[in-house]
């Protein structure tokens, strides 16, 4: 048998790129293997979006108003479906490996945590976009959406910036299962629930109690929704939405490195206390 140590001669950056591709490809393989489950979740999410859309139809007094309310709700539903999926995929990085029993193998490999989280993030974004396009196609068969003035380019630009901060936000949450194998994943579910409540997905945050409204300022989903709704409903341009873009840019700069830093600290703690095991 031929012995080769070719990988040992490669520069570090090349090994990292191969590892990033490895994580993204593995997730693609897993999506293929769990294909029918993915179909079930996609159908469920689409039905959920349709249900919310019909609520909008029921609330409009004129057809124009109904279309506006429906579009407002559907943008929120679709965007939440996309962003919560990115967040969930990232935050489940550790629990998923633990559940499959591969956590020790992954964490003893020379691929960095950055490569792992970036690989997971890239796949989550690509898969989320495909999923959102399918949902959008299905939904558009049922509703007359008010998108005559839509500025799709601006909406996509804001979505792209928001995706980066959401990946970082997911990295921050991913540390929880490292700190507590038993309860960590449940805590990340609380993160998701709080984001859903405070971000104005199905309603304007003005309806929230006064003390709760400022919380929306720390949610990237809130700014993304504002920006994308403005772009799709009012036709607002990308550059005219600076008030939504700058917080997203700052969060995009802060959350990914913060998430990585916290993740590395969590990994050190798990290694020190012997929590980096396949079972909880």
């Amino acid at each position: 048998m031929q012995i080769t140590h070719s990988q040992l001669d490669k520069p570090g950056w090349m090994r990292e790129i191969i590892a990033i591709w490895g994580y993204a490809q593995r997730n693609y393989f897993l999506t293929k293997r769990y294909f029918w489950w993915e179909v079930v979740w996609l159908v469920y999410s689409t039905m959920n979006a349709l249900t919310i859309g019909f609520i909008g139809v029921g609330f409009g007094t004129t057809s124009e108003e109904a279309a506006k309310v429906t579009t407002f709700l559907l943008i929120g539903t679709l965007l939440w479906s996309y962003l919560s999926m990115i967040f969930d995929l990232l935050s489940e990085t550790v629990s998923w490996e633990r559940w499959e029993g591969t956590i020790e193998y992954t964490f003893m490999s020379p691929a960095s945590r950055t490569a792992q989280l970036v690989g997971m993030g890239i796949y989550a974004v690509l898969y989320g976009i495909v999923r959102m396009i399918i949902m959008l196609g299905a939904i558009s068969l049922f509703f007359d959406m008010s998108l005559g003035n839509a500025n799709y380019g601006a909406a996509l630009g804001i979505l792209a910036i928001c995706s980066i901060s959401l990946v970082g936000f997911g990295m921050v949450a991913a540390v929880m299962p490292l700190l507590s194998p038993e309860k960590g994943q449940q805590v990340t579910s609380i993160f998701t629930a709080v984001l859903l409540l405070i971000s104005g997905i199905y309603y304007s945050i003005d309806v929230l109690p006064g003390w709760m409204q400022p919380l929306a300022n720390i949610s990237p989903v809130y700014y993304a929704l504002n920006g994308i709704r403005n772009a799709l409903l009012e036709g607002a341009t990308f550059t005219s939405q600076w008030e939504n873009i700058w917080p997203l840019l700052i969060m995009g700069l802060i959350f990914p490195p913060l998430g990585l830093w916290l993740f590395k600290k969590g990994e050190w703690f798990a290694k020190k206390t012997g929590r980096l095991k396949r079972s909880g």
């Binding site: 048998m1 191969i18 490809q25 499959e100 193998y105 003893m108 691929a111 290694k271 206390t273 012997g274």
Partner: protein, 275 residues
């Protein structure tokens, strides 16, 4: 650290006074490793014998950078495993008692993924996978089957193939044959012998099978309650303790048989759960 520098290191592994304890309750700690010192020379196979709960897996986790020791020194090819874990990770791989795989993925998909974590691209790994799988007698037509469809023995062979794919300079084998049927066990042992002959690897083999330790290892250590109480060649151990079998060596060194030690350990582990 370059491959040449690694090749020039006299020892594949050096442990000096390694200690690790875990917190059970407040102010109640259990020692997993107590002052363990051990050297594995380049190209050597060292076996660690010990009952369940003796600290074998903690020892392997410490070397593979998954657990940080409380004190002591761990050097792999003269690289400090605590200070430079990622450098060390490039040169080691591990096969444990559980063949850690994505169960729904095929062996090929798992192997491709495992190789990429070590910087081996698809283009490099595909021909190597074919060659390694042929070498271990795995029917290549089954590479597309999910891992969960394969027998435990077959999964363990794939685990060894995954490790070989990255050409590790130090291989950590943590009870790789435990729970296998006699045929699979023999196949896996043949593979381990092959790794030694064909690869530029040093091996640390943790087992509670004395026959396996004697057959595969140059030197054998006995680990009990986290302490390495003996380390020598099989003949050296027999002569030191004046016995003719490793079973008797274990009995004389520990005051108990391996089976009894495992029973006591199992009872101790079950006790808190019963409270």
């Amino acid at each position: 650290m370059t491959l040449e520098q690694v090749r020039q290191a006299a020892n594949a592994l050096e442990l000096r006074d390694v200690e690790k304890k875990f917190k059970k309750k407040r102010n109640d700690f259990s020692y997993a490793l107590k002052g363990v010192s051990l050297t594995v020379k380049r190209g050597e196979v060292v076996g660690i014998l010990g009952p369940n709960g003796s600290g074998k897996s903690t020892l392997v986790r410490v070397i593979s950078t998954l657990t940080l020791p409380d004190s002591g020194e761990v050097r792999v090819f003269d690289i400090d495993a605590v200070k430079e874990p990622r450098e060390v990770q490039r040169f080691i791989n591990r096969v444990s008692v559980e063949a850690s795989f994505f169960k729904k993925l095929s062996s090929l998909e798992n192997l491709l993924f495992g190789a990429k974590l070590y910087g081996v691209s698809d283009r490099e790994s595909r021909p190597r996978i074919k060659e390694i799988l042929e070498g271990i007698g795995f029917d290549h037509k089954r590479v597309g089957e999910p891992m969960e469809h394969l027998s435990r023995g077959m999964q363990q062979k794939i685990a060894l193939a995954r490790a070989l794919l990255t050409s590790p300079m130090l291989m950590l084998l943590d009870e790789p044959t435990t729970g296998l049927d006699p045929r699979s066990k023999k196949d896996v042992q043949t593979l381990i012998r092959g790794i030694r002959q064909d690869h530029d690897s040093s091996i640390l083999l943790c087992t509670h099978d004395m026959g396996e330790a004697e057959e595969l290892c140059d030197r054998i250590g006995i680990l009990l309650n986290g302490e390495l109480i003996a380390l020598d060649t099989a003949d050296g151990l027999r002569s030191k303790y004046g016995t003719s079998s490793l079973e008797d060596v274990f009995m004389k060194a520990t005051g108990t048989s391996l089976d009894e030690a495992e029973f006591v350990q199992d009872m101790a582990e079950a006790a808190p759960a019963a409270d």
